[in-house]
Amino acid sequence: MTKYDLKDDSVVVVIGSGAGGGTLSNELCQKGVKVVLLEAGKRTEISEFVNDEWASFMQLAWLDPRTTSGTWRVAKDFPTLPAWTCKTVGGTTTHWAGASLRFQEHEFRAKTVYGSIAGANLLDWPLTLQELEPYYAKAEDKLGVTRTNGVPGLPGNNNFKVMEYGAKKVGYKTVHTGRMAINSQERDGRGPCQQIGFCFQGCKSGAKWSTLYTEIPKAEATDRLDLRPESHVLKISHDDSGKVSGVVYVDASGATQEQKARVVCVACNSIESPRLLLNSESSKFPQGLANSSGMVGRNYMRHTTGSVYSIFPKPVRMYRGTTMAGIVTDEAQLDTKRGFVGGYELETLSLGLPFMAAFLEPGAWGKDYAGALGSYTNIAGMWIVGEDMPQADNRVTLNKDVKDRFGMPVPNVHYDDHENDIKMREHAYQRGAEIHQAAGATQVFHTPPYPSTHNLGTNRMAENSRDGVVNKWGQSHDIKNLFISDGSQFTTGGAENPTLTIVTLAIRQADYIADQLGKKEI
């Protein structure tokens, strides 16, 4: 195993080993760059994953203290759990469902296309779909996305068949088993999906792409990666010139260390990334690092979500098979006649009985609720993923009244639904219900949003340094050797699950960093 000296200031330090950080680390190592990858969680391998919702949640989820505020339903139902992300080598790529969709062309130009929306802090991305297309292609090849590069689609499970039948009956045209980063046939040394049904709990067959067993071992094979699990970063340090110079972290033994660095890349997910920048405040940067715009932590997006679960007269057994291999894309198109801007995807989703009890209608009890859970085998489910509006005051801030075990202020996540979000959710609930009813549903639940898995926007990209934190390469406007490499750099959220775009941006960013290192620009 490669080990770099703590004083080695020629290394690139990447913080976080998920879709952004794990991919970036491998891409850089392949180009000959020395990388120290710091991951707060342990290295838990496939053999240790468990097909058990609560046990897996305790094994993989990020459970450090957090607080919430705002009128969003999550703050009421899960006040200390705003997000369902992971603290483990591989990050949330252990938990993600695998849906891999490109953004649509107009979604990179939200402000231009949607116009001025009161209360929304919309902005166009500083890049276009055309610029990203070659990198999307590389990402799809890396992930083995079905329905791209000749990879066949996954077979449809029972939950999909119900959705497909109902969706076609109500007139939807584009209904299929999705573009999934889950092998439908052997590829890249990993076997095909076994329809296990526990995609969220870490894929036991390895058919689903996760940096844990793709990017990270490939990077290790170059002998250029120094992966340090259980390394929780507290602060990014800088020199007198204002360039970042290293990171301070607590290692697995509990000792505080400082790793020197030539470049620092932050990929801790959209809650921890801004928190780290804010916690890195200094006399030179009293507002936190990279924050001359005041945008660090702002414009937090989480997608407009919700689920439709419906009871049918006969068994569905939705939990059998791939969790999210099913999609209706018709509502994702640009169509402002529906009374809101942006679009949404409808994707199959299932929960096991334990999480169904917790999430179907949080707080509910009594005969009706127990009756619904008693009909568990007859339930089908789908998830709404829609574009939510960035709002300046939806933001991650430091809660200085609550400290974590290292004495650092915890993040507070504030979110208010925008009127556009509410209209979209209502529309999607209605359309989702119609799909299930067309397939014979007798009872429909509009399940409120779960803790967020799509956390976006809190260090957003902007052409102009006044409007955002990073440029089109994810490079800080203020500090040229500091990069953001996760979904927090998204300018807007689109209607698509974000991982493919995070991976795409990481591949592109690796090219840029290698180029800039070569030119001694950073």
């Binding site: 468990v50 296990i196 049904g197 526990f198 006969k314 096991g352 917790a358």
Partner: protein, 173 residues
């Protein structure tokens, strides 16, 4: 302590459950048909009976006997042994619930019980029992079996050859 009742037993009629509850004393309660037993250390038998009845009123499943409900109550009792605050929360909460039902919650008919239960809704006591039910009862493998959830599948090879797409009742589209 042995409770009063015929033949030193108290049968608590619980709708849906086939078995009554036999309080044996010494904190031990069991199903009249011997299907399950529960041992309490901190809570007494009457408190245990109230909590079982409350748990079932929160999440009633006619197909499930009192066993899995009793397991949740046993878990709460174990927590109360370790933590005095939890003990107080449960004992005071049960008392309020019993009082709201006129003295003995578990012996009242459904309408009166639910009215009493609603008076405690949202209290820390109510939330404690509710959350123990959500995370305990619905995570109980006996409950999974009764409600048809199959649990872990990887060790069985997933469902690729075991019915992931076996739905047969949808009309031909």
């Amino acid at each position: 302590m042995l409770d009063q009742g015929m033949d030193r037993r108290v049968f608590l009629k619980s709708s849906g459950a086939a078995a009554g509850i036999v309080i044996l004393g010494g904190g031990v309660m069991m199903a009249a048909d011997g299907a399950w037993a529960m041992s309490l250390s901190k809570l007494d038998a009457k408190q245990g009976a109230t909590l079982i009845r409350m748990s079932r009123d929160l999440y009633p499943h006619d197909s499930i006997d009192d066993g899995p409900y009793a397991k949740v109550v046993e878990g709460l009792d174990a927590e109360a042994v370790k933590d005095e605050k939890t003990a107080t929360l449960l004992i005071d909460g049960v008392k309020k619930l019993d009082d709201a039902a006129g003295g003995n919650y578990a012996r009242e008919e459904e309408g009166k019980r639910l009215a009493a239960l609603r008076t405690t809704q949202g209290t820390p006591f109510f939330q404690k029992v509710q959350s123990a039910m959500i995370s305990g009862f619905y995570n109980d493998h006996d409950v999974w079996a009764k409600l048809g959830y199959e649990g872990s599948s990887a060790e069985k090879g997933g469902y690729i050859n075991r019915g992931f797409d076996d739905i047969a009742w949808l009309p031909k589209s």
